[in-house]
């Protein structure tokens, strides 16, 4: 049962990364590459009817985490207190940037909310990468000082950074050079992903330029991924142990590299949706590879005193997990129906159907 809910949760988070990922990416593209009003409008209309539902995948994942793995929810949300609060504030800024921009027709007003939307998208992409970095690096569970736990074995607290920005320091911080590296990978990946979405869903003049941007950024991404693999041993001496024990898991890294290499053909794609498909493969493959590398851990312990949090020691009782299956299956079917309706109603290029002109 624990394994089932773990797969559900990771599947939902994967959906979130892909869906809200293109929203964040669209925000970053909006910030750096969209200069003309027409391009800006095309970008916001490309995510307009979707972003709210995309964000629900995060909220719903949080709900499933809460009910299926309450100890992990309690431990990680209190331990990562400050960055989570900042993510909340950024989500708020981003949403009001999108919603309020069109309320007043004034260029100053519009540019303020454009910046709010763009900058918070950028920072969110960075923070989510950093968050993933924190999860794989692990934390000082139980807050062990001099070999003694100062708190219950599954609680911890991290400040935003420590003096050395080192992932191996005794007192860890949220931001160190390793987690920051994953944060930067997050930003680059989502920029590519968002650009692909814009190409897919709009006829913007910007699209030709975005193809060049994707092509160049893909080299950066490849370089960053190689660097991260070279330094990964710093946080985990045996990063491939799960893949050696369970060889079918190699499918994830293979998907990741298929996505990455496919994107180099961006200028030759026949259909506008192809790029989005490849960046989706890269995102899902990368996410799955990363979480699979620490399985069954969900939050590793960096000390020898307290054990890592695994899906087995943080899960709810079996009755709750079993009974939850009933409503979850019904809900999931409904969600898929809504999803299909939503993407069928708003299919094709958003500027063709005139979304947003009302």
């Amino acid at each position: 049962m624990e394994l089932f809910w773990y797969i559900v949760l990771m599947g939902m988070l994967g959906m979130y990364v892909v869906l809200d990922g293109y929203d964040f990416g669209a925000g970053i593209v909006h910030l750096f590459f969209a200069k003309k009003e027409k391009d800006k409008k095309a970008i916001t209309s490309a995510i307009g009817p979707f972003w709210d539902a995309n964000e629900v995948w995060l909220i719903a994942s949080g709900g499933v985490l809460f009910f299926a793995f309450p100890t992990l929810y309690a431990s990680s949300f209190s331990g990562f207190y400050l960055p989570l609060m900042m993510i909340l504030w950024l989500l708020i800024f981003r949403a009001i940037g999108l919603e309020l921009r069109g309320q007043v027709h004034n260029s100053l007003w519009e540019s303020v909310w454009d910046k709010a939307f763009g900058i918070s998208s950028l920072l969110l992409a960075l923070f989510f990468g950093v968050a993933l970095g924190n999860v794989v690096r692990g934390v000082n569970l139980g807050i062990v000082e001099n070999g003694v736990s100062t708190h219950e074995a599954h609680y911890f607290f991290l400040p935003l950074w420590n003096a050395t920005f080192s992932p191996t320091a005794e007192h860890l911080g949220i931001i160190d050079w390793f987690t920051l590296l994953l944060g930067v990978i997050g930003v680059v990946t989502l920029t590519i992903h968002g650009a692909n979405w814009i190409i897919f869903k709009t006829n913007a003049d910007l699209n030709e330029k975005l193809k060049k941007v994707i092509f160049r950024l893909n080299f950066v991404l490849l370089a960053l991924v190689v660097v991260s693999l070279l330094v990964w041993h710093v946080i985990e001496p045996k990063p491939f142990h799960n893949f050696i024990e369970t060889p079918w898991l190699w499918v994830f890294p293979v998907i990741t590299f298929a996505g990455l290499s496919g994107l180099f053909n961006v200028k030759r794609f026949k259909k506008d949706g192809q790029g989005f498909l490849f960046s989706t493969l890269f995102l899902l493959g990368g996410f799955a590879t990363t979480v699979a590398s620490i399985f069954p851990n969900v939050l590793p312990s960096t000390n020898d005193v307290n054990p890592s949090l695994t899906i087995y020691n943080v899960a709810a009782d079996s009755y709750g997990l079993t009974v939850g299956l009933n409503w979850f299956v019904i809900a999931l079917i409904l969600v898929i129906i809504y999803f299909v309706i939503q993407y069928r109603v708003f299919k094709g290029k958003m500027d063709d159907i005139g979304y947003g002109d009302h």
């Binding site: 307009g48 009817p49 979707f50 709210d52 539902a53 629900v56 909220i59 719903a60 949080g62 709900g63 499933v64 809460f66 009910f67 299926a68 309450p70 100890t71 929810y73 309690a74 431990s75 949300f77 209190s78 207190y81 400050l82 989570l84 609060m85 909340l88 504030w89 989500l91 708020i92 949403a95 009001i96 919603e99 309020l100 309320q103 007043v104 708190h151 609680y155 911890f156 607290f157 709810a316 009782d317 009755y319 709750g320 009974v323 939850g324 409503w327 979850f328 809900a331 999931l332 409904l334 969600v335 809504y338 999803f339 309706i341 939503q342 109603v345 708003f346 979304y355 947003g356 009302h358």
Partner: protein, 443 residues
Amino acid sequence: MEDMLFYDRMQFAFTITFHYLFPQLTMGLSLMIVYFKWKFLRTKLDIYNDAAKFWMKIFALNFAMGVVTGIPMEFQFGTNWAKFSELTGGIIGQTLAMEGMFSFFLESSFLGMFLFGEKLLGQKLHFLTGFLVFLGSWASGFLIIATHSWMQHPVGFEIVENGKFVLNNFSALFSNPWLWPSYIHNQLASLITAAFVVAAIGAFYILNNKHSEFGKLFVKTGVLFGLAASVLVAFPTGDWAAKNVVEHQPVTFAAMEGIFETVDGGSEIVLIGQPDTENKKLDNKIAVPNVLSFLTYQRWDAQIKGLNEFDEKDYPTNIPGLYYAYHIMVGLGTVFIALMFVAALQLWRKKLYKTKWILWALVFALPFPYIANTTGWYTAELGRQPWLVYNLMRTADGASPTVSAGNTLFTLLGFVGLYLLLGMLFLILVGKIINKGPETAKV
């Protein structure tokens, strides 16, 4: 430790109070917009569709505010109340996860279609999307109140050796005697807010001599919805809710009503008075003898337990706050019935649109349903204190063990600043929409 708990509580209280200003309008207004759309489909009169479109603009802004201030609520269970989440997550996590899966996906998928898809979808499907958004928002309220009801009156669980609350009866969460009275009471209260807002804007248009046709429609609709909801919120639903408190939380009931001592021969109902918890008495009291006994047990001489019957460590933490919250809610509720009754009477005599003082009263009544809703929730929440899970887990035992007071104060201040900005923007933009007024369909 004391400080930490204080800031944790302040942050939750502040963010939930601000948050709930929006969903209460969302839930009530979605029903009224669905009503306008339905009238339009039935009568084909454009004014109903234009009315729906006007309120959808305010609805869209209000909904967005509700969403962005709602996300911090779900986060805070984990960030600030980690111990509570750890021990009860297997139970309240069920209803909260269901809210995400059943209601948020429904609302968010169809809101975009509802707001921007009228031409794309055609009138019947557009009505349907509006109905689905309404359904989603009411489902959300239901699952939140199911969660709330479990904390007030825990059911369907056992406590295992490590102190964890383990679910053993899923359906009990929904047959909880606390749930249905609270839910219906709350939804009616939410409808009151929407009805008063619609009536207030309508009265403003009539008095202003702008958009008067819409003004009349808004006042009429607001008054009829408002009268029905104001009556039903008090009786029978408010009565049901109070009887739940009497039965399951008698010490809370004594504090709410300001009853310090048990008296023989029936208890008085306190209308006004200031509780003095040091000397255990009410100052400047105005009370009606025996009425409380009658309302509670339908016998004039029934005995009501006073605070003196209970252990002081189980007293609600803030007795005066609880007492005032409850009395403000009940007092305002009574005024709402009176105002809506007089307005409906004038409407029936076809004189309402010319009776200026009632129109002014409707305009100035606008903030009060918000206050009544808020104090109603304060009554429930302060009434539950000092418990998180009534009689089983104290609030002091539920906070996050590793988050310091300084960090919580930092984020509390952040929320205060951010929400001040949000509140101002919301008022400015809604003011702009109201000032512009409804637009008539082009012929």
